[in-house]
Each structure stands twice: as structure tokens, then as C-alpha cells.
């Protein structure tokens, strides 16, 4: 019997959409029983949201004042304890899941599968390696727990309408005090979140300066899009690092991706391979971005974008 425990990611009392994508990955395994675990100081609001996800059987609440901030060292022993009766433990391949899940796996004495993009069976998965330049099919040992992070860009979130039972779970785990949360600085932009946005406009080095990056924000706002940036633009200080799209930044799969002044290094392409439609605007007709773009326009971004904004009305 395949029993999958999905670790919920949440902040400010809101369930992160990445959780619904982990449930979607778990649902792809036939006959799997899926539970979600929510760790928080007060887990009620998030647990209720998780209970509505299609395909979830039960939601476990693990409440402790120490769980107020998502510190891997604090959460991992509790998840490892809660995972005792499960064959699989899934978490999202976000910075939260990447930080946490390997620690859970090691406490359980097993390895981990990172970034799974497809579940062919309960023990056979596909995942990208070498910055997405190769896809491997991996078979996990059946006598061990499978701990994995799910590549959120590869799955459509399950819908709502479920009504899973919510239970408080008592876990017996020693919680360390050697790790303490200090502060978090989030860029509050009011724009759609990069990882879940249906449309994303990204700027690259050719934008030229932090001040010029306003042109990217302007187009994004016109399209109701999230904003991204290439590593070159982030390294040059044109855009904050949490906007970086690529192998070492965020991997996204929007309906529409508009790459402005981005040449299209392998590192960047890895982050957008699964976008439905890629539009590239670049001065250089030889830029590699045009090899993957569905629609390409060779032109100066400082001429093209104002025209485009005007055309969008």
C-alpha cells in the first residue's frame, strides 16, 4: 500500500500553491493514499485550506511554538517522526523544500530524489540533471522510504472541493535550539508571485541599469504579469536576486514568458523550458533565446516595449 505524506509549505496563514502541485504528483501514483502534514505554531487556517485539496485523505496538524518559522533543523525531526507509517514523503522543490527534505531523509536513514518531474510508478521517477540538459529515469529501492522534492513547474495544481479530515498529530521528537530565526526581508511588490504567475516578463543584461528595469515592470503591469530576471541582470544589480529565473534561481512554467534583452544562456533556459509560449525580444538575431522562442522579434527593447505597451492599450 502506497501511503504518501505531503509536507505543506505555508506563510502568513496561507497555504503555498506548491503544496497542491505536490499533491498532484502524489495523485499520479495509482492507488496512493495521500495525507498532508502542516507544521506551525497555529496550524488551523492552513490545515483547513489543505483539507480542501482534491485527493487528500487526511490533514495532520503538528502545532508547536517552535514551528512559528520554517527552520529545517526544527521541522525535520518532527516530520521524520510523523512519517513513520508512510512509504513516501513529498515536499515542494522550493527553497523551503530543498532546505528541509534532505534533512528529513537523512534522519530517516534514506536518500532523496530531487526535483521529480514525473512519477511513472510508486518507485520510478523522472528528474532533470545537468541543468536540464538530460532527463533520467530513476528506480528507487522498494524496501526503503522514498523521500522526494517535487518540481512544481512540472505539475498542474489539484483543484479544491475535497473535504479531508483534520487531526492534531502528536509527534515525539526532540526539537533543537541551536538554530534561530532572526529576520526576513521580502520584496513586497503587489505583482503576481513569479513561481505561480500565468504570465511572466523577464529582463536581462541588455536592460542596462536598475533604473531602466522600470520598463520591464511597466510591461509586466500592463500584462498583469510577474517579473523575472536573468542571472546577468541580477548580478549586475539591476533586479533583486529573488527574481532570478534559471537553474540557480527559480524554475517556472507560465502560460506566457516574455524574455526581454536576455541572450538565453543554458542556465536561464533551464528555468523556462516548460513555459507554454516563449516570446523573445532581442537586438541580436543570433541570440540563443531565439532557438527556444515560439515568437521572436529582433529589435531594440527601448523601442519595442513602448510600442508594445501602446498596442496593448
Amino acid at each position: 500500500m502506497t501511503k504518501i505524506l505531503v509536507v505543506a509549505e505555508h506563510a502568513g496563514g496561507k497555504l503555498n500553491p506548491a503544496t497542491a502541485k505536490c499533491v498532484a504528483c502524489a495523485s499520479a501514483i495509482s492507488g496512493a493514499e495521500i495525507d498532508v502534514v502542516v507544521l506551525a505554531a497555529d496550524a488551523s487556517a492552513v490545515a483547513d485550506q489543505a483539507a480542501k485539496l482534491q485527493g487528500v485523505k487526511k490533514v495532520l496538524k503538528v502545532e508547536n511554538a517552535a514551528n512559528a518559522e520554517p527552520l529545517a533543523a526544527v521541522l525535520a525531526p518532527q516530520i521524520a517522526a510523523a512519517a513513520a507509517n508512510y512509504t513516501h514523503v513529498f515536499g515542494p522543490s522550493t527553497t523551503f523544500g530543498k532546505d528541509l527534505m534532505p534533512r528529513v531523509a537523512a534522519l530517516l536513514g534514506v536518500g532523496q530524489l530531487s526535483d521529480i518531474m514525473a512519477a511513472d510508478s510508486a518507485y520510478t521517477f523522472r528528474r532533470p540533471i545537468y541543468a536540464g540538459n538530460a532527463i533520467i529515469t530513476v528506480e528507487a529501492a522498494k524496501d526503503k522510504k522514498v523521500v522526494a522534492t517535487v518540481r512544481v513547474a512540472s505539475f498542474q495544481a489539484v483543484g479544491e472541493g475535497g473535504s479531508a479530515a483534520v487531526e492534531a498529530a502528536a509527534v515525539n521528537a526532540e526539537i533543537p535550539t541551536h538554530t534561530r530565526f532572526v529576520t526576513r526581508s521580502a520584496a513586497a511588490t503587489g505583482r503576481p508571485d513569479l513561481q505561480t504567475a500565468a504570465r511572466v516578463v523577464s529582463g536581462g543584461r541588455a536592460v542596462g541599469s536598475a533604473d531602466n528595469f522600470k520598463i520591464i515592470y511597466g510591461l509586466a503591469d500592463k500584462l498583469g504579469a510577474g517579473v523575472g530576471a536573468s542571472r546577468a541582470a541580477v548580478d549586475a544589480g539591476y533586479a533583486p536576486n529573488d527574481l532570478q529565473v534559471g537553474q540557480t534561481g527559480k524554475i517556472i512554467a507560465p502560460e506566457l514568458y516574455v524574455a526581454v534583452g536576455i541572450s538565453g544562456a543554458i542556465q536561464h533556459l533551464t528555468g523556462i523550458k516548460d513555459a507554454r509560449t516563449i516570446v523573445a525580444i532581442n537586438k541580436d538575431a543570433e541570440a540563443p533565446i531565439f532557438e527556444v522562442a515560439d515568437v521572436g522579434l529582433v529589435g531594440d527593447l527601448f523601442t519595442v516595449i513602448p510600442e508594445l505597451e501602446k498596442a496593448l492599450g
Binding site: A72, A73, A76, T95, A105, Y130, T137, V292
Partner: protein
């Protein structure tokens, strides 16, 4: 004596466009340039800077890999590490086994800080540091973009999806590096000559007394699905027309 242990992995150079073998048994690595994993170079740079500021007295670089990994360890020594340890394994080692091997080195060397890259650019796993911290029962600070040391503690700024997060950890601890932590130094020719005389110990992985067995079997390697050829448009008018036709605007 305060030591920093830095993990270096030998990987296909990041500039190489990796190709899958036609028979699906792996990727082409024959005759391909190998380098230190870029994130690990950043880890070593950080360790050297800490030592230069008096925060440590010795920097040890360690790697798990085939005999040829000595080349990358020598590069690490030329950058400024004091000595090197190669845990020799001709078979690939999964992150859990690598973490177990590092734990053995920790038990022997007693470092205050273990610095690793956040991920290898070959397997893209992003696991070893977290697993090591768990097995060691010590704190982890992953995706570090700033490290400040202060009497037995480290304040680490981490790059997370929501922006930046700062945590404080008691030492000893494992820290994994993100790209923006620092700019690694270049190696100078005289340092390459000097590095040849620095100690490099090799020990076979079998001698560590760990279970280096694997849990995962790779059945197949495939090239990623290509995207179908797109269209080039001449001007903004055409671009808008295509986007409208696709129902995107």
C-alpha cells in the same frame, strides 16, 4: 585550533553543453573538461576569507571521487587551502553516502564550520549539506549569501524564494553557499607550484567503514524534449497579432 572543512566536487565544467549518449546509458564525459563545482569554489573562497580575517587557523579541502579528483584538490590548494583529503571512490556516490563520508572526516578533524556548495551542477541534487547537518545533529544554513561570525555563532543571510532570510546558528555548523556569497579568487602561477608541495592524503572509501551503497538506480538517460520551431515576426504589430491569435492577450 579552529578548522574549516570545505567540500569540493569534480564536475563537468559549467561551460560544457552536456549531451546524452545515443544509447541512453549516460552523458558524454570522455574528453570533456572537468572543474571544481562552481558553488564549491565559492565555499572555498569564503573559508579563505574567514581564515584571512582570523576566524580560522586552517582550511582543509576534501572531496569524494576518482583518483583524478586530485587535480581539483590541487587547484583548491593553489587557491589557498592548507591541505587536502581525497576519499577515493571509483563508483559514483549518492549524497547520503557522501554525507556519511564527510561525517567521518568531521569526527577525525573536528572543524568548527563545514562549507559546501548548495548543489553540484552535474546531479543538481542540493542535498549533501543538509544530510550532513542531520547526521551530525548540528545546525544547517543553506543558500548562504552572507556569513558573519561572532563568538561561537554564525549569522547567515539566506537566499529564499520570498527574498532574504537571516538565521543564527550555533557552531559547529554546516553552511552551503549560494552564488552571490562572494567572487572566488583566481589562482596565480606561483601558487600552483607551491600547491604541489602541500599535503594531499588519499584514503579509499572502503576504509571509512560506512555503507556507501546506493538506493537509486538510473534506468535511462534521455535528451530533454525539444521545443517546436517558433516564428519570427517583423514588428510589434505582427507580435501582437500572433499573441492574440494564441489567445494570450
Amino acid at each position: 585550533m579552529s578548522k574549516i572543512l570545505v567540500g569540493l566536487k569534480r564536475v563537468v565544467d559549467y561551460n560544457v553543453r552536456v549531451r546524452v549518449k545515443p544509447d541512453g546509458t549516460g552523458v558524454v564525459t570522455e574528453g570533456v573538461k572537468m572543474s571544481i563545482n562552481p558553488f564549491d569554489e565559492i565555499a572555498l573562497e569564503e573559508a579563505l576569507r574567514i581564515k584571512e580575517k582570523g576566524g580560522a587557523t586552517e582550511v582543509i579541502v576534501a572531496s569524494i571521487g576518482p583518483a583524478d579528483t586530485q587535480q581539483q584538490l590541487r587547484t583548491g590548494l593553489a587557491m589557498g587551502a592548507d591541505r587536502a583529503i581525497l576519499v577515493q571512490s571509483d563508483a559514483p556516490v549518492e549524497p547520503l553516502a557522501a554525507a556519511k563520508a564527510f561525517l567521518k572526516l568531521i569526527e577525525k578533524e573536528g572543524p568548527q564550520i563545514v562549507l559546501l556548495g548548495k548543489q553540484g551542477i552535474d546531479d543538481d541534487n542540493n542535498q549533501t549539506g543538509q544530510m550532513l547537518a542531520a547526521l551530525w545533529n548540528r545546525p544547517q544554513a543553506t543558500f548562504a549569501s552572507k556569513v558573519e561570525l561572532d563568538s561561537g555563532r554564525a549569522k547567515v543571510t539566506r537566499e529564499v524564494d520570498a527574498g532574504l532570510e537571516t538565521i543564527e546558528v550555533d557552531l559547529p555548523a554546516v553552511i552551503t553557499t549560494d552564488l552571490r556569497l562572494n567572487e572566488p579568487r583566481y589562482v596565480k602561477l606561483p601558487d600552483i607550484m607551491k600547491a604541489k608541495k602541500k599535503p594531499l592524503d588519499t584514503l579509499p572509501i572502503a576504509e571509512l567503514g560506512i555503507d556507501a551503497g546506493s538506493q537509486f538506480k538510473t534506468l535511462k538517460y534521455e535528451a530533454p524534449a525539444g521545443r517546436s520551431k517558433g516564428v519570427m515576426v517583423k514588428d510589434v504589430g505582427e507580435l501582437v497579432a500572433v499573441l492574440k491569435q494564441k489567445g494570450l492577450i
